[in-house]
C-alpha cells in the first residue's frame, strides 16, 4: 500500500510526462499550448508535494496565468505554418534522436550513480528553519541575504522592458496619437460649426467638406466624402 503522497507523486509525474510529450507531438498548436498548461499544473503539484508551495503558486500565476496564455494568443493571432515547421523536425529527427539517446544514456548513468556529498546538508546556505513554511522562509532571506541577486533580477527585468520597447516601439506616420496639450487647449469654436444646408445639394456643391482639406493627398478624398455624408 503506497502512501498518499507517493500516489500523487506518480500521478502528477505521469501526467506531466504525458502532457510534455503531447506538447511536442500534437498537430494542433492550440492543443500543444493547452497541454503545456496541463504540464505546468502538474509541475505545480509536484512542487506542492515537495513542500515548495511558493514556487507552486508562482508557477501557476506566472506561467499558467501569463506566459501560457500569451503563448496561446500568439499562436492564435499569428499565422504560423506549423506543417512547414514540422518538416524541419522530421529532417533532423534521426540526428536528434541519436543525440538525445546518447544524452539520455549519460544522464541515466548520472542518475544511477547519483551520490550526494556527505557534508551536503551542513553546507546548505539557507536551510528552511523549523516550524516555518516555505513562503515565510523565502521572504526572510530574499530581501536580506539575497538582496543583491534580487536587485540584479530586477535589473534583468528592466533590461527586458527597455529591450521590448526599443525593439518594437516606433512612431509610425499616419497613426493618431493623443496630444493632451492640444486636447485641453482647443475650444468649441475650433471644432464645431453650424451650417445651413440646402435641400438636394451635395456636399461638394456646398463646399462643406469636413475636415477642411489641408494639403492632403488626393487618395484620401473618398473617405472624407463618406464622413461628410454621414454628417
Amino acid at each position: 500500500m503506497i502512501s498518499a503522497s507517493a500516489f500523487f507523486f506518480y500521478l502528477f509525474s505521469a501526467i506531466l510526462l504525458a502532457s510534455a510529450a503531447a506538447v511536442v507531438t500534437s498537430r494542433n498548436p492550440v492543443h500543444a499550448v493547452l497541454f503545456l498548461i496541463l504540464a505546468f499544473f502538474n509541475a505545480a503539484g509536484l512542487f506542492l508535494l515537495a513542500g515548495a508551495e511558493f514556487l507552486a503558486m508562482i508557477l501557476l500565476i506566472v506561467y499558467v496565468g501569463a506566459v501560457a496564455v500569451l503563448f496561446l494568443f500568439v499562436v492564435m493571432m499569428l499565422d504560423v505554418d506549423f506543417v512547414q515547421l514540422r518538416e524541419g523536425v522530421q529532417k533532423y529527427a534521426p540526428v536528434g534522436a541519436a543525440v538525445g539517446a546518447v544524452l539520455f544514456g549519460e544522464l541515466w548513468a548520472v542518475v544511477l550513480g547519483w551520490q550526494v556529498s556527505p557534508g551536503a546538508d551542513s553546507l546548505q546556505g539557507s536551510p528552511t528553519p523549523a516550524n516555518m513554511d516555505n513562503t515565510h522562509a523565502l521572504g526572510q532571506v530574499l530581501y536580506t541575504d539575497y538582496v543583491y541577486l534580487f536587485q540584479v533580477s530586477s535589473l534583468i527585468l528592466l533590461v527586458a522592458m527597455i529591450g521590448a520597447i526599443v525593439l518594437t516601439h516606433r512612431r509610425r506616420e499616419g497613426t493618431r496619437r493623443q496630444n493632451i496639450t492640444m486636447q485641453q487647449t482647443r475650444s468649441v469654436r475650433d471644432t464645431l460649426e453650424t451650417l445651413q444646408v440646402r435641400m438636394g445639394a451635395g456636399v461638394q456643391e456646398l463646399g462643406i467638406l469636413r475636415p477642411r482639406p489641408r494639403a492632403e493627398p488626393a487618395e484620401e478624398e473618398p473617405r472624407h466624402e463618406h464622413a461628410a455624408g454621414d454628417h
Binding site: Y92, V99, V102, L103, E106, A109
Partner: protein, 643 residues
C-alpha cells in the same frame, strides 16, 4: 705598427676608393687606391728591412680579440716573422706596381673604374691578411677573401658571359679545395684544441704517433691533416686536377691576371705549405704526394703551354707549371727554395703578364698570337721587358728564374728518394718546355711577318708611362732578384735570414747539400733552357713551316695538348653533367614536387579544410543547436570516459 699599416692600408684604400668611388670620380679613386698601396709597400718593405737587417725579433702584432666561445679564444693578430714580412713586402710591391699599371690599362673603360681599384686593393688586403695570419682561422679568412676577390675581379666585365662563367668556375673549383682546407683546420683543431700557429707547432712533436681509425685502416693523423691542407692548397694554387679555373681566369682584365698569378691567390697554396712546414715535416707521405702532384703539374702544364695560341693562356699555363716547381720544392723539404721561387716568380710573372697586357693594349685587344708578329720595333720597352721576363722564366743565367729553379731541381735530385727523382725528371723536362714556349711566345708575338690586319697594325703603339714604368721596375726584379736573394734565401745566410720561420726536420739536409750536386745536374736547367730557346728559334724564325707539319703529323698529340689534356671535357662528363642532372632532379622532383609540393599541398589542404569547416555554418538555428548538443554530448562523454 709599420707592419699593421702595411696590412691595413690596402683595406682602407679599398673602402675609400671602392665605396664612394662613383662620387669621387675615377681619378680620385685611383689616386686614393694607389696612395694607400704605396704607403703599404713602403711600410711593408720597411717592416721587412727592420726584421732582416735591423734585428727586430719575431713576434705577434695583436689587433683585436676575435672569437671567444667557451674555452675557445681567438685573437686577431699578425704574425711577424721572416716568412710573413717577406711575403708582405713582395705582395705590396707587386700589387702597387699593378695598381699603377692599371691606371693606363683601364684608361679605355666605358664605365668608372673605381670599383676595379677597390677590388684590387681589397684583393691585396685579403692576401696580406692571409700571409700575416697567426692562426689557421685568420688564414682561412684571408684565403676566402682572396677567393671572393678573385671571383669579383675575374667577373669584372660582368656583361661578358664568358667572364661570368670563368668567375663562377674559379669560385666553384676553389670550393673543392677550400672544403678540404676547412676539414684540415678542423682536424688540426680536434688534434690540438687550438688554431694559432705557435701553439700548434710547439705541440707537433707530442702528437707524432696519433692515429685516425678510418674504414678499418689506421692513418697517421699528420698525414691526414697534411693531405687535407695540401688539397686545399691545390685548389688555390691550381695544381693538376684542380687547375682548370686558372686558364679561364684570363677572362679578367690583364692586371688582375698579373695580380692573381704573381703576388696573390695562387701563391697562397705554396705559402700554406711553407707556413705549415713544422707540421708537414712530420708527414712524409703527404709530402710525397706534394712532390708528385707538383712535379706532375709542372710537366703537364708546360706541355699544354707549348701549343696554346692565346698569349695570356700561355703565360697562365706557365704559372701553373711554375707553381708545380714550388710544390715540388716544398715536397722534398726545400721550403726555402719554394718560397724563393715564389718571390722570383712573382717578379717575372707579373712582368710577363703586364707585358702581355701591354701587347694586347697595343694590338687593340687582340690576344691570339697567331694574329700578331712583327711588332717589336714599335713597342721597344715592352719587347725588352718581355725578353727579360722570358729569360727569367726560362731559367737562363743570370736571370732570377735560374737561381730558384736551379735550386729546386738540385733539391729534388738531392732528396734521393724515388719520388724526388721523378720530380727532378719532370722538372727538367718542364724546364726545357718552359724555355721553348717562352721563346715561342716571344717570336710569335714580336717577330716574323705581321699577321694582324692593316688597320690594327697602324694602331700599334708603345704603352703610356703608367704601364711601361711598372714594366721597367719589374724587369729590374726579374733580372736581379735571383742573384740578390740567393744567399739569403737558400744560400749560406739562410739560417740567419729565416730565423726559424721555416722548419726543416732533423733528417732534412736538402739545403745543406744543394751545393754538392754534380756539375752536370747543376748546369742542366741552363742547358735545357738554352736548348728550348734554340728550338723555338728554329721553329718560329728559321723554319716556320715545321710546327705546322709537326702538328699535322702528330695530330692526336697536338689535339690532346691543345685541348689541355681534355680535362675540361672530362670534368664536364664526370662532374658537371651529373651535377646538372642531379640539380635538375632536385629542382624538378625535389624542389618543385616535394618541397614546393608539401607546402602547396598543405595550403590546399588548409583551404579545403576551411571550406569544410564553414560548410556547417548554414545559418539554421536548428543546426547550430544540434551542433551545440552534439558537442555537449561529446564533452560529457570525454568526462565520463576519463574518470
Amino acid at each position: 705598427m709599420l707592419f699593421a699599416t702595411a696590412v691595413f692600408a690596402p683595406l682602407l684604400g679599398a673602402l675609400l676608393a671602392g665605396l664612394p668611388g662613383r662620387v669621387l670620380g675615377d681619378r680620385a679613386a685611383q689616386l686614393i687606391a694607389i696612395c694607400f698601396m704605396l704607403l703599404a709597400s713602403v711600410c711593408g718593405v720597411a717592416a721587412w728591412v727592420q726584421h732582416i737587417y735591423l734585428g727586430v725579433p719575431n713576434g705577434v702584432v695583436p689587433v683585436a680579440d676575435w672569437i671567444t666561445a667557451g674555452d675557445f679564444r681567438l685573437q686577431w693578430a699578425l704574425q711577424y716573422d721572416t716568412l710573413s714580412t717577406t711575403m708582405v713586402a713582395m705582395v705590396t710591391c707587386v700589387a702597387t706596381l699593378i695598381h699603377i699599371y692599371s691606371v693606363g690599362y683601364m684608361a679605355h673603360e666605358r664605365f668608372t673604374t673605381s670599383r676595379f681599384f677597390g677590388y684590387l686593393s681589397l684583393f691585396s688586403f685579403s692576401m696580406l691578411m692571409l700571409v700575416t695570419a697567426n692562426n689557421l682561422v685568420q688564414l682561412f679568412f684571408g684565403w676566402e677573401g682572396v677567393g671572393l676577390c678573385s671571383y669579383l675581379l675575374i667577373g669584372y666585365w660582368y656583361d661578358r658571359p664568358s667572364a661570368c662563367a670563368a668567375a663562377i668556375k674559379a669560385m666553384i673549383v676553389n670550393r673543392v679545395g677550400d672544403l678540404s682546407f676547412a676539414l684540415g683546420i678542423a682536424a688540426v683543431f680536434l688534434r690540438f684544441g687550438v688554431v694559432d700557429f705557435s701553439t700548434i707547432f710547439a705541440a707537433v712533436p707530442a702528437h707524432v704517433d696519433d692515429m685516425y681509425h678510418l674504414l678499418g685502416t689506421d692513418f697517421r693523423a699528420y698525414e691526414v691533416i697534411g693531405v687535407l691542407l695540401f688539397i686545399g692548397a691545390m685548389g688555390k694554387s691550381a695544381q693538376i686536377f684542380l687547375h682548370t679555373w686558372l686558364p679561364d681566369a684570363m677572362e679578367g682584365p690583364t692586371p688582375v691576371s698579373a695580380l692573381i698569378h704573381a703576388a696573390t691567390m695562387v701563391t697562397a697554396g705554396v705559402f700554406l705549405m711553407a707556413r705549415m712546414s713544422p707540421l708537414m715535416e712530420y708527414a712524409p707521405g703527404a709530402l710525397g704526394m706534394v712532390t708528385f702532384i707538383g712535379a706532375t703539374t709542372c710537366l703537364f702544364a708546360a706541355t699544354i703551354g707549348c701549343v696554346q695560341n692565346d698569349i695570356k693562356r700561355v703565360i697562365a699555363y706557365s704559372t701553373c707549371s711554375q707553381l708545380g716547381y714550388m710544390f715540388l720544392a716544398a715536397g722534398v723539404g726545400a721550403y726555402q727554395a719554394s718560397v724563393f721561387h715564389l718571390i722570383t716568380h712573382a717578379f717575372f710573372k707579373a712582368l710577363l703578364f703586364l707585358c702581355a697586357g701591354s701587347v694586347i693594349h697595343a694590338m687593340s685587344d687582340e690576344q691570339d698570337m697567331r694574329k700578331m708578329g712583327g711588332i717589336w720595333r714599335r713597342v721597344p720597352v715592352t719587347y725588352a721587358a718581355m725578353w727579360m721576363g722570358s729569360l727569367a722564366l726560362g731559367g737562363v743565367f743570370p736571370f732570377a728564374g735560374y737561381f730558384s729553379k736551379d735550386a729546386i731541381l738540385n733539391a729534388a735530385f738531392e732528396s734521393g728518394s724515388g719520388i724526388g727523382l721523378y720530380g727532378f725528371a719532370c722538372g727538367s723536362a718542364a724546364a726545357f718546355l718552359t724555355a721553348f714556349y717562352s721563346g715561342r711566345l716571344l717570336f710569335m708575338t714580336f717577330h716574323g711577318a705581321p699577321r694582324a690586319d692593316h688597320h690594327t697594325m697602324e694602331h700599334v703603339h708603345e704603352s703610356p708611362l703608367t704601364m711601361t714604368g711598372p714594366l721597367m721596375a719589374l724587369s729590374v726584379g726579374a733580372v736581379l732578384a735571383g742573384w740578390w736573394f740567393y744567399p739569403q734565401f737558400i744560400g749560406s745566410l739562410q739560417q740567419a735570414y729565416w730565423q726559424g720561420a721555416l722548419f726543416n726536420g732533423a733528417n732534412n739536409h736538402v739545403l745543406q747539400r744543394l751545393e754538392d750536386v754534380p756539375a752536370v745536374i747543376a748546369l742542366l736547367p741552363s742547358v735545357l733552357g738554352l736548348a728550348g730557346f734554340a728550338i723555338a728559334v728554329w721553329f718560329y724564325i728559321i723554319n716556320t713551316a715545321l710546327p705546322v707539319r709537326l702538328a699535322e703529323r702528330f695530330r692526336p698529340v697536338y689535339l690532346f695538348l691543345l685541348n689541355k689534356w681534355y680535362f675540361d671535357e672530362l670534368y664536364d662528363r664526370i662532374f658537371v653533367k651529373p651535377a646538372w642532372f642531379l640539380a635538375r632532379l632536385l629542382w624538378h622532383t625535389g624542389d618543385e614536387t616535394l618541397i614546393d609540393g608539401v607546402p602547396n599541398g598543405l595550403a590546399e589542404l588548409t583551404v579545403d579544410g576551411s571550406r569544410q569547416a564553414v560548410r556547417i555554418q548554414t545559418g539554421s538555428i536548428a543546426i547550430y543547436a544540434f551542433t551545440m548538443l552534439i558537442g555537449l554530448v561529446g564533452l560529457v562523454s570525454i568526462f565520463l570516459f576519463n574518470r
